[in-house]
């Protein structure tokens, strides 16, 4: 139970970082923290106490294995997260070239 709460705390740290920080790079870090919190939760959901690695071999039965599916899904999600992070950083660099700052209070040509 404690680990799930720690995931929640990690997620909250990430969301806090997205909402409160003024630096573009810190916002990106916040997104990554929130993302990792969810990946961690997803991987933990497939874990069972004292489980072994989900590798099938003839001399061992399928007992007490952790669930391999969440691990595969988290791998996919990590790759997607990598693409999004790369995109975010690329745009942040272009913004820095145009505006000369990472401070979001100074980047406001739009008023939405």
């Amino acid at each position: 139970m404690t680990v799930y709460f720690m995931c929640l705390i990690l997620f909250a740290v990430g969301i806090y970082c997205i909402l409160r920080k003024r630096n573009l790079i810190k916002i990106i870090i916040g997104i990554m923290i929130a993302e990792y919190a969810i990946h961690l939760l997803f991987a933990l959901l497939g874990y069972r106490t004292d489980g072994r690695a989900p590798i099938f071999s003839p001399d061992e039965g399928i007992v007490n294995m952790v669930d391999p599916l969440p691990q595969a899904l988290v791998l996919t999600a990590i790759v997607i997260g990598l693409a999004v992070t790369a995109m975010l950083v690329a745009i942040a660099i272009r913004i820095y070239e145009k505006y000369g700052t990472f401070d979001i209070t100074k980047i406001k040509k739009l008023h939405g």
Binding site: L41, A77, M87, L88, K98, K108, K109, L110
Partner: protein
């Protein structure tokens, strides 16, 4: 069931992916290939989606097993009435947008990268619609989203980059909520297949966890659909993109990633409850009213159109939230109509910007004599979106209002009718400021440079004309889709899938056996 028809299904993802791949390889060197290939791919997708609608009406629901694994374990792609309806809407608008981009995108340098991203986005959207598996839906959702983040920033100017960053942060948070929901649902039901999940959830009944996950999905997909509490990114992101992309984003992207997913998951997988109905109705009505009020204060043409998208999406969510078959029919019909006339309006705003060089409505006026086709088609689209009788928008709004009255929500029906009047008001102001009236001083001042500018305003090139005229024709004859002969396979089949609710699961599983 016909043995080979279901092999059609993966084509909707493979074709645009292959097109994007080839264009990115050779498009830089062989310039004509990106135009030709981009249009060929979207045209063949339109043909395939028409064919798929007939296939569904003939053989019923079709399921493709990816890699021949039997679905509850393997991945399924499902083609039913709702999917066929969405595929035709998405690919039709995409085709007309690529036709339009042949001329419009000349002013950007990297046309090949535009087409690559466009086809990737299309592959993602088609994938979201045909996926029968929760996690696959998430993957396709992210493909479409990442491509659209890049397309919003396509101009790489100050505003575009800022809008893209804002869109990306909000969109990523939305995706995270969806992923969290999928993780919780997997641990609760031990399956990712939608049909299987629906059956297990039906056995367990509505519990606190399934309610919590529905809320996560409404928030996550609501961020993608720009429902009102989550709408802040849309008025920046949609106007910043090039015109054909604005048309795609407002026309179909927010509907496939937001509305379709909400409707499919809440109705076919989770099953609706009283609380969820109330939440959807509230969000729908809020989006409708707030979007229309914000649109009234805009002078930037594309921002006005973006706010109006929020308002019209509110109508669709309201209709879907009602939960009656009539409400769903109206909502889906409005979804189709809105993707047609909103993409037409965005394409025309591109033509106006192309000619005048600004988006500020105070700097225009009297363009009707110079651009009769653009003026006429915009008038048709504005009338249709405002709900003037013979045009398609009137029928869909009428059905939604009727359905609201029939379901006993008189208050919501009243707001829907009132917002329709507001819509008419701000589209009248668009027509007056841009196409009718006298040219503004900025255009018609009699010093030499300004006169030269007025003289230089002319109709857009031929491909842009073809695309807007086709869309205007669909707007005019769109009302005919309600005739029983036509609506049976298209609109009714789609509404029936939603109205059937959890029976979706047993139909899918039966067709696998």
């Amino acid at each position: 069931m016909e043995p080979n028809t279901h092999n059609l299904i993966p084509l909707f993802v493979i074709l645009p992916l292959a097109g994007a791949f080839i264009i990115s390889l050779v498009g830089k060197k062989v310039r004509w290939i990106s135009d030709v290939l981009g249009n060929l791919v979207t045209l063949s997708l339109v043909i395939a989606s028409v064919f798929s609608i007939f296939a569904v009406s003939k053989y019923g629901i079709l399921v493709y097993k990816v890699g021949s694994w039997i679905p509850p374990i393997g991945i399924a792609m499902v083609l039913d009435g709702l999917t066929g309806f969405m595929l035709l809407t998405v690919n039709l608008v995409a085709f007309l947008c690529t036709v339009y981009s042949v001329n419009y995108m000349e002013k950007y340098t990297a046309k090949w990268s535009f087409y690559t991203l466009f086809l990737l986005m299309l592959a993602g959207m088609n994938g979201v619609v045909i996926s029968g598996d929760m996690f696959n839906l998430f993957v396709f959702l992210e493909i479409a989203s990442v491509a659209s983040y890049a397309l919003v920033a396509f101009g790489t100017e100050h505003e575009e980059l800022e809008a893209s960053f804002k869109y990306m942060v909000m969109g990523t948070v939305g995706s995270l909520l969806v992923l969290l929901g999928i993780a919780l649902m997997y641990s609760y039901t031990s399956t990712l297949n939608m049909a299987d999940m629906a059956i297990i959830l039906a056995q367990k009944g509505i519990t606190r966890i399934s309610f919590f996950v529905s809320i996560l999905f409404i928030a996550g997909f609501g961020l993608k659909a720009a429902l009102v509490p989550f709408h802040a990114w849309l008025p920046d992101a949609h106007p910043s993109a090039p015109a054909p992309i604005s048309a795609m984003l407002s026309g179909v992207l927010i509907k496939t990633l937001g509305i379709y997913t909400i409707a499919r998951i809440l109705y076919n997988v989770f099953g609706m409850s009283k609380e969820l109905t109330n939440i959807l109705l509230l969000f729908g009505a809020l989006s409708m009213i707030v979007g229309a009020l914000l649109a009234m204060g805009q002078w930037d043409l594309k921002r006005l159109l973006a706010y109006s998208s929020i308002s019209q999406v509110g109508y669709v969510i309201l209709g879907i939230g009602l939960g009656t078959p009539l409400g769903m029919l109206g909502a889906l019909f409005h979804l189709f109509n809105h993707s047609v006339f909103k993409s037409l309006l965005f394409l025309n705003s591109g033509a106006v910007e192309y000619a005048v060089g600004t988006r500020d409505m105070r700097m225009m006026g009297g363009l009707r004599e110079k651009m009769p086709i653009t003026g006429c088609t915009s008038l048709i689209a504005s009338m249709s979106i405002a709900g003037v009788p013979p045009l398609s928008g009137f029928f869909s709004k009428l059905i939604i209002i009727f359905a609201a009255v029939q379901a006993g929500y008189i208050g919501y029906a009243f707001w829907a009718a009132l917002v329709s009047v507001l819509t008419l008001a701000y589209f009248m102001s668009v027509q007056k400021n841009i196409f009718f009236g006298t040219p503004s001083r900025a255009l018609a001042k009699s010093d030499g440079r300004r006169v030269a500018k007025w003289e230089s305003i002319k109709e857009p090139p031929v491909f842009m004309k073809i695309s807007v005229i086709t869309l205007a024709l669909i707007c005019i004859i769109g009302g005919l889709l309600l005739l029983p002969a036509l609506s049976g396979n298209f609109l009714k089949a789609a509404a029936e899938v939603l109205a059937a609710g959890r029976a979706y699961a047993s139909t899918v599983l039966e067709s696998i056996m």
